[in-house]
């Protein structure tokens, strides 16, 4: 029986004509893939960066004033936040959060505890969805794989719901709190990158240059780019960029870049809507059978920290709190600030030989201890100078020098600057 061939080929079976047709057909999938690759590869980035919109020129002062005047109460949208502090990956059990705010307490049994979730925002990329309607109603949620972690603030109630574990955390919160607690609604109001921007701008002095660097499109809105750069040579901070909505002055994107390499914090709206969010967004009734943890009166520090973590901004991010310029003074006792502005260094006098003792202890415990010492060494680099010797722990933005005699120098400055500070303090 004859072979069933695809082509007619009555006279010239298997001639070049067949081959051509074959090649032509195979060209179809290749072309489809090629077009798709080209679309994804070129069009998407092109779209993303299309056009710096044509906006009237504005001076840095005017732009700052615009931000300060901005009084947007209602907004909802999606925020993408990527953080890369360059923290060493700690063994499990050590919380990354400790590196930032020194928030103690690990994950308890309460999966919906906001504090436990805080650390997640410290590394990698996250998608947040936020909505705000005046000072009394806000919500934000961390979009997770097939789950979501939501914090809803409505009047006196502060709910946190973790869908992955189906548990909720409730606190009758903000009103009972003092000081710090009061910042929660305020911070959330108007998505407060305003607050952040204000704080960042409050530090503007002769060590800082503030300029308007063109325009950009963020989440489909026209925005000005405000660039804040430290003038000092010692700072590890390259630049802070804030994209400010040209219409209503709301900061839409915040980028903190070190002197070299990619951004450490990159937070911005990918979608934003300044209309009134639906009321049902702010109501929460724990579903039947859901574990509910009541937070009895104790000020939910974690909540605050958590809520702050959501904002696309600087000072609110743990870790950045270490930035002297943004932190605006510190309450830690026994701490002294050397220098000013961006290159200021915090000096903390700790118990003598704390680090050394730690490693001595570790060494004393045989092999396991030796490992621990090695671990410590792998995090910190030994340095020495006129001050003696110590270890430098570095992240991509904050460097910390722990001397063997128990002093700690920390700042968003280069290692050399830390050593210099230690030398001169001696």
């Amino acid at each position: 029986m004859a072979r069933i061939q695809p082509t007619q080929g009555a006279d010239d079976t298997g001639t070049p004509g067949t081959g051509r047709r074959k090649a032509a057909r195979y060209a179809v999938p290749v072309a489809v893939a090629g077009v798709a690759a080209a679309t994804i590869g070129f069009v998407v980035p092109a779209l993303a960066s299309t056009g710096d919109p044509d906006l009237p020129k504005i001076s840095a002062q005017d732009l700052i004033a615009k931000m300060a005047k901005s009084d947007v109460q209602q907004a909802s949208g999606t925020v993408k936040i990527s953080t890369d502090f360059g923290l060493p990956s700690l063994p499990s059990g050590l919380s990354l959060g400790d590196a930032g705010k020194g928030s103690g307490g690990g994950k308890g049994g309460d999966a919906a505890d906001p504090q436990a979730k805080l650390t997640e925002l410290l590394s990698g990329s996250h998608t947040l969805r936020i909505a705000a309607d005046g000072p009394d109603k806000q919500r934000f949620s961390i979009v997770e794989r097939a789950a979501e972690y939501t914090v809803i603030h409505n009047g006196d109630d502060l709910w946190a719901y973790d869908s992955a574990s189906d548990s909720a955390h409730h606190s009758k919160a903000p009103k009972q709190r003092d000081g710090d607690g009061h910042e929660v609604p305020k911070d959330l109001a108007g998505l407060s990158p305003q607050e952040l921007a204000k704080r960042a701008l409050a530090t503007v002095d002769d060590t800082t240059s503030v300029t308007v660097d063109g325009t950009a499109k963020v989440a489909g809105r026209d925005a000005y780019q405000l660039v804040i750069k430290p003038k000092g040579g010692d700072s590890t901070v390259g630049a802070v960029r804030i994209a400010v909505d040209a219409k209503n002055g709301v900061p839409l994107k915040f980028t903190l870049a070190p002197k070299s390499g990619k951004a450490i914090v990159d937070a911005g709206f990918t979608k934003v809507d300044f209309g009134k969010p639906a009321a049902k967004n702010f109501s929460f009734t724990p579903p039947k059978g859901t574990k509910v943890t009541e937070d009895a009166g104790k000020p939910g520090k974690g909540d605050d920290a958590k809520l702050k973590g959501k904002l696309p901004g600087a000072g609110e991010l743990p870790g950045l709190a270490g930035l002297p310029g943004l932190d605006g003074g510190s309450d830690a006792s026994g701490m002294k600030v050397i220098g000013k502005g961006w290159s200021s260094i915090a000096e903390i006098k700790g118990p003598k030989g704390a680090v050394d003792k730690l490693s001595e202890d570790a060494k004393g415990k045989g092999k396991a201890g030796g490992d621990a010492a090695a671990l410590l060494d792998s995090f910190g680099k030994k340095v020495s100078g006129d001050f003696g010797s110590g270890r430098v722990f570095s992240t991509r933005i904050v460097n910390v020098l722990m001397t063997d005699d128990g002093r700690v120098y920390a700042g968003a400055v280069t290692k050399d600057a830390l050593v210099k500070a230690a030398d001169s303090a001696k």
Binding site: M1, A2, R3, I4, Q5, P6, T7, Q8, A10, T18, R21, K22, R25, Y26, A27, V28, P29, V32, A33, A36, T78, A111, T127, R129, S141, V143, R145, A146, A147, E148, T150, I152, W159, Y161, D162, S163, A164, S165, D166, S167, T270, A278, K280, N281, S283, F284, T285, P286, P287, K288, G289, T290, K291
Partner: protein, 294 residues
């Protein structure tokens, strides 16, 4: 010269009526769905929600909350509060492997199985044309995708209604919606899950045109599926992961957010369409130019 050559030849083709085309598609669908193998696959898929439901029921039989600490499979901890979540949990449990494997078996068998059993040449003798035959094969595979998904969803819904309380649904965003609306979302999710399998069906169909052994095609398709799933796990490969067909599969869960988070859903469906276009046309290029000798 056989009739197939004439039928497929340029110009000589008499356009079959739409009804005839439909009948080719219909006969393909019934062939696929009537096979014992297919029925066994569907049976296994239907059993998954039953197993999940009974396991959760046994663990929470004393009325306590299902002790999920957030590290179990998706949605597992909500099942004991609301039976509807068994639908989502079962789909989340079957989507990574069971469902695409079943689809891979059916798609891989589509052409290669016919070739292997020597029936392909007889199919081609019918005045249908290879392109139409391939389309009918692909369409019947897609019907199987939908059927398989619905089997899981319906089985899960039945078990969920029988074993667990139902009522207002709390979405993963914490927003409450009525049970009716929850049911609507479940239907939408079943649709998205079925659509998520479009890509793997196209890959399977392409592989199926490469070989004359049905088993080889099935094994290759399932192997590709597993490979893609594994590659999707390595953080170091994050640059290529958005182009792997299973990458956005779990995005169906984004329908359970309020407001719905459309972006990953759009990406998932776009990616599936891309796979269908690339591998579908590759299958077409291969099948229409291939010598059928068996």
């Amino acid at each position: 010269m056989s009739r197939a050559e004439v039928a497929d030849g340029r110009g000589a083709r008499t356009a079959p009526s739409a009804l005839w085309q439909l009948s080719l598609f219909r006969s393909e669908v019934t062939t696929v769905l009537r096979r014992w193998r297919t029925l066994a696959l569907l049976g296994v898929l239907a059993a998954v929600p039953v197993l999940v439901g009974i396991a959760v029921k046994m663990e929470t039989g004393d009325g306590g909350p299902s002790g999920g600490d957030g590290h179990g499979p998706a949605f597992i901890s909500q099942i004991s509060n609301n039976g509807l979540f068994l639908v989502f949990a079962s789909l989340a449990a079957t989507l990574p492997f069971f469902l695409p494997m079943a689809v891979g078996v059916v798609a891989g068998d589509a052409v290669a199985g016919e070739a292997g059993s020597g029936t392909l040449r007889y199919l081609l003798v019918a005045p249908a044309g290879r392109t139409r035959l391939l389309l009918a094969k692909y369409a019947s595979t897609l019907v199987f995708c939908l059927t398989a998904t619905l089997v899981v969803a319906v089985s899960a819904l039945t078990v969920g209604l029988l074993l667990f309380p139902v009522g207002d649904v709390t979405l993963i965003s914490g927003t409450q919606i009525s049970f009716g609306e929850g049911l609507l979302r479940a239907v939408a999710i079943a649709g998205v899950v079925a659509a998520s399998l479009v890509g793997v069906a196209a890959v399977g169909l392409f592989v199926s045109t490469l070989t004359n052994s049905g088993i080889a095609a099935m094994a290759t398709t399932v192997g590709l599926l597993i490979t893609a799933q594994i590659l999707d796990q390595f953080p170091q490969l994050h640059a290529v992961q958005p182009y792997l067909f299973p990458h956005y599969w779990l995005s169906f869960a984004d329908l359970l957010r309020e407001p719905v988070y459309w972006e990953p859903l759009q990406r998932n469906l776009g990616l599936q369409a891309l796979y269908a276009a690339v591998f579908g046309s590759a299958a077409w290029a291969r099948f229409t130019t291939k010598d059928i000798t068996v």
